[in-house]
Subunit: 547 residues, 2 copies
C-alpha cells in the first residue's frame, strides 16, 4: 500500500481538479463574459458560497497534509497522527463529493455546483477512493478513542523554539490564571479583572505583531494565532482582548503617520492603552461600506463625530477608539470613509462614558462576556486633528479590509481555542460519567463525537496557521483568512454543540462550563464577518482570480 501521506497529497490533487471544475462551471454561469456579474453572483449565491465552502474544505485537507508531512519529518507522525489524517481525509473528501455542511441544514452538493461528473471522477481517483472507504470508519475512530481517553493529542509542535515556547507559556498562563475563574466571570457577567488584563499586557499579548522598535514582540501572525488560541482555550474573552489591539496595532502600524505610530504603538503594545473597534452601526453591519456616522472637520482641523454605532466590544473600559466614519458625505460607498483614532476617557462602572459627546449603553448577550458590548451615541464628539489615520481621508475602508484579514485569522485562532476547550470538557466528562455500567467514552456515538472534534480541530488549526503564513508573506489574503475563519467557526460551534450533547442534561445546566462554551461558540459564525459574508468574499475572490 502507498504511503498514507503520499496518498493524502494525491487526494488533494484530485480535489484540486474537482474544485477547478466547479469553479469553471460556476464562472460559466456568473461570469458569462469573463468577469463576474454582481447580479448573477447574487442570484447564484448558494452556488458561489458552495464553491467557497468546497475550496475551503480542500484547503483544510491541504493544510492537514502539510501538517502530517511536517510531523513525519520531525519524527512525530505516530498512530494518533495517522488516525487524525485518515479521519480528516475520509470525512472531508466525503463532504466534498457528497454533501458539505455550510451550516445546519444547509448542504452543498456536487449537483448544486454542476460538478456531478467531476465529483464522480474525484471519487474514482484511487487515493480518494482509499480514504472514502478506509478513512473515517468506525474502526479508525475506535482506534483513536482509547488514545484520546489516555490524554494523547495529535502533534501540535512547530519545531520552532520560539513558537513552541509561546504555546507552552500561554497554556500555563491560561491554565493558572484564566481557566479556574472563567466560568465564574461569565456567570457574574462582569468585566474580566483589570489585573488579568495587565498580566496579559506584561506577557506581550497586546503587542505580538507590533514592531520591536515600538515596544512590541515583533512576531508574525502565527505567533499571534498561538497566543489567541491558547488564551481562548480558557475563555473566549481572554483570547479576544487581543483582537482589538491586533486591529488597532495593525491599522496604525501599516497606515499611521510616524507620529501616530510613535505615540500609540508602545502603549497599545504594553496594554496601557486599551483600544476598541468602532465600525458597526444599527443599520449597517455586513455592509460596512454604507457606514453613515459622520465626522466633520472643524476650522482648526480637528473632527467632530456624530452618529450611532452599535455592538462595540469593550467600549466603556477602552482608551482609544478606531472609528470608521464618513468624512466625505458627497462620496457614497466606501470612498467617503475614513478611520479616526479617537481618544476617550476610560469609563468606570458608575460612569461608563464620562466624555462629552459620547454616550453608551450595554447590550446584554448570550456569551462572549467579560468585555461587554455597547451601543454608542456620538454627538459632536471631538477628535484631535492628528486623529485621522495616516493623515489621509477616504482610505478608511481599504485600511480596514486589509486589517480584517488579520482580525479574521485571529478570530479563526480564537475559534480553534474555543473548540479545544469544548473538546477538553467533553473528553473529561465522557471519562468520568458512567451510564449502562461503563464510561460514556466507551459508547461509539460518544467516542465518535470526540474523534471528529479532534480531526476537525486539527484541520481548522492548521488552516489557520496557513492563513497566518499567507498574511506574513505580505500578499492580499482575504480568501485565505476568510477560509480559516469560516471553517474554524463552524468547527468550534459543532464541537460546542456536541460537547453539550455528551454532557446530557448537565450540558444544559449553567453550573457546567460546557453550557458557557455553547453560548461563546455561537458568536463565531456571526461577528468579524458573518459566515455568509466570508463565503461571499471567498467565492467572489475565487471567481475573480484575485492576485
Amino acid at each position: 500500500m502507498s504511503d498514507i501521506i503520499d496518498l493524502s497529497r494525491e487526494a488533494c490533487a484530485a480535489g484540486q481538479r474537482y474544485i477547478e471544475a466547479a469553479r469553471a462551471a460556476t464562472a460559466g454561469i456568473v461570469a458569462p463574459d469573463g468577469s463576474p456579474d454582481p447580479s448573477l453572483i447574487e442570484r447564484e449565491q448558494r452556488r458561489v458560497h458552495g464553491l467557497a465552502w468546497a475550496a475551503t474544505t480542500l484547503a483544510a485537507l491541504e493544510a492537514l497534509a502539510d501538517w502530517a508531512a511536517r510531523a513525519r519529518r520531525a519524527g512525530r507522525f505516530g498512530a494518533i497522527e495517522e488516525q487524525t489524517l485518515r479521519i480528516g481525509f475520509g470525512e472531508y473528501l466525503h463532504q466534498l463529493t457528497s454533501a458539505l455542511p455550510m451550516g445546519q441544514g444547509e448542504f452543498v452538493r456536487p449537483v448544486d455546483l454542476d460538478a456531478g461528473a467531476a465529483a464522480d471522477a474525484m471519487r474514482a481517483d484511487p487515493a480518494v477512493a482509499h480514504f472514502l472507504t478506509q478513512g473515517n470508519t468506525a474502526q479508525t475512530r475506535a482506534q483513536l478513542a482509547p488514545l484520546l481517553a489516555e490524554g494523547a493529542l495529535p502533534d501540535e509542535a512547530f519545531g520552532d523554539e520560539t513558537l513552541d515556547m509561546i504555546r507552552a507559556q500561554f497554556r500555563t498562563f491560561t491554565a493558572e490564571r484564566i481557566a479556574p475563574h472563567a466560568h465564574q466571570w461569565h456567570l457574574a457577567d462582569e468585566l474580566i479583572p483589570i489585573e488579568v488584563v495587565q498580566q496579559m499586557g506584561d506577557l506581550g499579548v497586546f503587542g505580538v505583531c507590533i514592531a520591536e522598535e515600538y515596544g512590541g514582540l515583533g512576531l508574525g501572525k502565527t505567533a499571534m494565532c498561538l497566543v489567541s488560541e491558547e488564551l481562548s482555550r480558557g475563555w473566549i474573552c481572554a483570547g479576544s482582548l487581543g483582537t482589538r489591539s491586533e486591529i488597532a496595532g495593525e491599522l496604525i502600524g501599516e497606515n499611521g503617520t510616524p507620529e501616530q505610530k510613535a505615540a500609540l504603538l508602545p502603549k497599545l503594545a504594553d496594554g496601557s492603552i486599551l483600544p476598541t473597534a468602532v465600525f458597526t452601526e444599527p443599520d449597517t453591519g455586513s455592509d460596512l461600506a454604507s457606514v453613515a456616522t459622520r465626522a466633520r472637520m472643524q476650522n482648526d482641523g480637528s473632527w467632530q463625530i456624530t452618529g450611532a454605532k452599535t455592538w462595540i466590544t469593550h467600549a466603556a473600559r477602552a482608551d482609544l477608539m478606531t472609528v470608521l466614519c464618513r468624512t466625505d458625505p458627497d462620496t457614497p460607498g466606501y470612498g467617503g470613509l475614513s478611520m479616526l483614532l479617537a481618544h476617550k476617557t476610560r469609563g468606570t462602572q458608575d460612569d461608563p462614558f464620562p466624555d462629552e459627546g459620547l454616550s453608551g449603553s450595554e447590550i446584554e448577550v448570550l456569551g462572549y462576556r467579560g468585555m461587554k458590548e455597547y451601543t454608542l451615541g456620538f454627538d459632536g464628539f471631538a477628535v484631535a486633528a492628528d486623529g485621522l489615520l495616516g493623515g489621509a481621508q477616504g482610505r478608511g475602508f481599504k485600511q480596514l479590509m486589509r486589517t480584517f484579514e488579520s482580525a479574521r485569522i485571529q478570530t479563526a485562532a480564537r475559534a480553534v481555542g474555543v473548540g479545544w476547550n469544548a473538546f477538553d470538557l467533553a473528553r473529561r466528562y465522557a471519562l468520568e460519567r458512567r451510564q449502562f455500567g461503563k464510561p460514556l467514552i466507551e459508547f461509539p456515538r460518544v467516542a465518535d463525537k470526540l474523534a471528529m472534534m479532534v480531526a476537525e480541530l486539527v484541520m481548522a488549526r492548521e488552516l489557520t496557521y496557513s492563513a497566518a503564513r499567507h498574511k506574513d508573506a505580505g500578499k492580499r489574503c482575504d480568501i485565505e483568512a476568510g477560509q480559516a475563519k469560516l471553517l474554524a467557526a463552524r468547527v468550534a460551534w459543532t464541537a460546542a454543540d456536541n460537547g453539550v450533547q455528551i454532557h446530557g442534561g448537565n450540558g444544559y445546566a449553567l453550573e457546567y462550563p460546557i453550557s458557557r462554551l455553547l453560548c461563546d461558540a455561537r458568536i463565531l459564525n456571526i461577528f468579524e464577518g458573518a459566515a455568509e459574508i466570508q463565503a461571499q468574499v471567498i467565492g467572489r475572490g475565487l471567481l475573480v482570480g484575485q492576485p
Copy 2:
C-alpha cells in the same frame, strides 16, 4: 411528466427498498444468528443508529407524501404545497443517498451501512432521480421565498372540524396570552404565572387525552399534539406544562386502580393537581432501568422513599409526583422498579419544599424556563399505601416505557412548535432588516434557510401526527414515537440556529426573542430520551422487527 404526488409515492417505495437493504446488511452484522446480539449492537452503534436515522428520514417523506395527498383531496394542494413537497423530497432523498446528518458533524452515509449499491439503485429510480435534480433546487427555493414573504404557509388544516378548531383556539390563546409575555418571563427566570396555568387548565390543556368520564376532553394524541405545538409556538414552557399531565394522566389512566383514577384524573384534567415526573437520578439518566431510589413498604402498607433525584421539572409547584423507584432491591434492573403516586404540598417561593422528608434545590438552566428544574432529596418521604400505581409492584418501568411513547410524541410536537416560533421570528426579521439596500429575505442564503425550515417543519410535524395516530391505534409504537421525537428535535434545533444566524448580531442579544429560542431548542435533543437513546430504541426495534 408524472403527477408529483405519484412521483413522491414512487420515491418512497424506492426508499423502502433502500432501507430494507440497509436493514438486512446491518442485521447480517449485528444479528448473525438471526436475533440481535447486544454487544454487536453496541460495537456497531453508529451503523445501527444510522439505520434508525435513515428509516426516520424515509418515514418523514412518507408522512409528507400522505400530507400532500390529503391536501390534494381537499383541494388545498397549491403552489406552496408543491414547493414544500419538492424541497422536502429533494433534500431528504439526497440525505438518504449521500449523507444524513444525525447531528452537527455526525453524518451517516450509505457506505457506513454497507448499502452503497442499494443507494445507487435508489438514485437510479426515475422518481428519486427526478427529485434529486429538480427537488431542492435554487429555483424551487426562489419560488417559495416570495410566498413566505407574503405570509403564506403550507397547508396545515386537518379537514376535521374538532382538530381545526383546536388549532385555531390555541393559536389565538398563544398569541394573546403567551407570546406577548414569554420573553419577559424567560429573562426574569420566573415561574409562569399561576393564572396562566389556570387559564390553560380551563381550556382543557391538562386533560386532552383523559377520558371524558374523568373530566378530560377524551381526545386522541393528535389533538394533544396540536395543543402542544400551538402553545410551544409561543413558548416552550407553555407547551411543556402539559407534558407532565400527559405522563401522569396516561400512567394512571392506563394502569391505575379504579380508586386512583377516580381520585386523581379529574383533578389532573382541570389542572387543580399539577403533577411532576420524578424519574432521573444523579447517576442515572439514560439508563433508567438502574434507578436506585428506594421505596420501602411500612407495616401499614404505606411507603417511605429514600434517595436522590435530579432534573425534576416543576417540582416545587407540583402537587403530585410520579416517582420511579426501586421497591424490590433484590431484583436488579427494571424488574425491581415500581411507580409511586406521591402527594406533596405545593411549595411557595419562600418555602419551595415544605414537606417532611423532601428537600430540593433549583438547577439554573440555559432555557426551558418557567417551571424550573430541581434536584430532590428524599429522606423517608411518606407515601400512602394506595400510592402504588395499579396496586402492583415491579411494573413501573414498563408502565413508564409505554407512557414515554406519548411523552415523546408530545415532545416532538413541542419541538415542531418551537421550530415554527423560530421560523416566525426569522421570517419577520428577514423582511424588516435591510442590508446592501434590500431586505435580507431577498438574499438567497437567507431565503434558503427559511425555505428549508418550512419544508423540514412540515415533515417533522406530519411525522409527529403520524406517530400520534399510531399511538391512538393502541399498538406499541416506540419506533414511531422515537422517530418523531428524533427528527423534530433536530429540526427545531436547526431552525433556531438558523434563525439566530439570520438575525446576525442581534440574534446574540438577550433582548431579541430568537436568542431564547436558541436556548430553548437545545433541550429537545437531550431530554425525554437523548437523541442517541432514541436512535438506539429505533434501531434495535427495526432489527428485532418489533411487533
